[in-house]
Amino acid sequence: MNDADASIQIQQMVRFIRQEAEEKANEISISSEEEFNIEKLQLVEAEKKKIRQEYEKKEKQVDVRKKIDYSMQLNASRIKVLQAQDDIVNAMKEEAAKQLLKVSQHGFFNHHHHQYKHLLKDLIVQCLLRLKEPAVLLRCREEDLDIVESMLDDASEEYCKKAKVHAPEIIVDKDIFLPPAPSDDDPHALSCAGGVVLASRDGKIVCENTLDARLEVAFRNKLPEIRKSLFGKVGAA
């Protein structure tokens, strides 16, 4: 083999080595691009999933908190309305209590005490019918004492007719009276708008028939009706 052939062969070998290297480098470059895309996609997707889950959790917490807040506000609103309803109903009761004072005052019934006297008699008869005792203790306001004493016989007689019994012994308590009508001087003091309290001699059975007690009963009994009139539907007491 002469020099020229040897040189050509070496050149071919050099070219082959370079070509092999370039092909290898090209393969590496192609795989590099593929792996770059795969690696980046995998990293992005995995991390995105984590971040998404993290924010979904955070948003869910915010959503729950908002729902709780709104529920609490709604509840507070309902309570406010119920409180307003309660205030309105109680205002009616207070107004009725004020009006009730006029019942036992001069000028409410035919401009004198005649009608109040009649009411007191009815209240005493009602108590006697409830107690059905042979002897009772009666308590009234000091300002009503004269009226009560003046119609005690009438009341006793009416009771006898209705209950078909002998006249009971009615002892009027002149030591302890029911509280007087409320005054502007002390609005928080114990007061009574009128009426009577009767009890058995031993004090075990008591029939409270004051106007205030009757208003309480009336108010309690009529509350659903009152609520319906005021608010259009029967509300809870």
Binding site: K40, L100, A218
Partner: protein
């Protein structure tokens, strides 16, 4: 003389091998750099994605809608209470009368 030429040929082949090694090595280095770039780009994308979600989250958290809802609820409640007071004032006299009648009438 022949041996010298032979050595020259071998040298050429060795040089070619070294250059081939450098070419492949450069490709591998480029590949490593590309993989690092993949990681860097992924991180950058993640930061952008995170900040976008954070922005959306902050919008959701900021209570503008909530405050509006609360105010609307308050206003509705006040209107309802005003209406209650107005409607009840129309029947209050009748109710008081009814209570007084109940108190002053005995069924004895």
């Amino acid at each position: 003389m022949d041996s010298l030429r032979g050595q020259g040929g071998i040298q050429m082949l060795l040089t070619a091998e070294q250059e081939a090694g450098r070419i492949v090595s450069a490709a591998r280095t480029a590949k490593l750099a590309r993989m690092k770039q993949a990681k860097d780009e992924a991180e950058k994308e993640m930061e952008e994605y995170r900040s976008r979600l954070e922005e959306e989250y902050q919008t959701q958290v900021s209570g503008t809608d909530q405050e509006a809802d609360a105010k609307r609820l308050d206003d509705e409640t006040d209107v309802r209470i005003t209406n209650l007071k107005e409607s009840s004032s129309k029947v209050s006299k009748d109710i008081v009368k009814m209570l007084i009648k109940y108190v002053t009438t005995t069924a004895a």
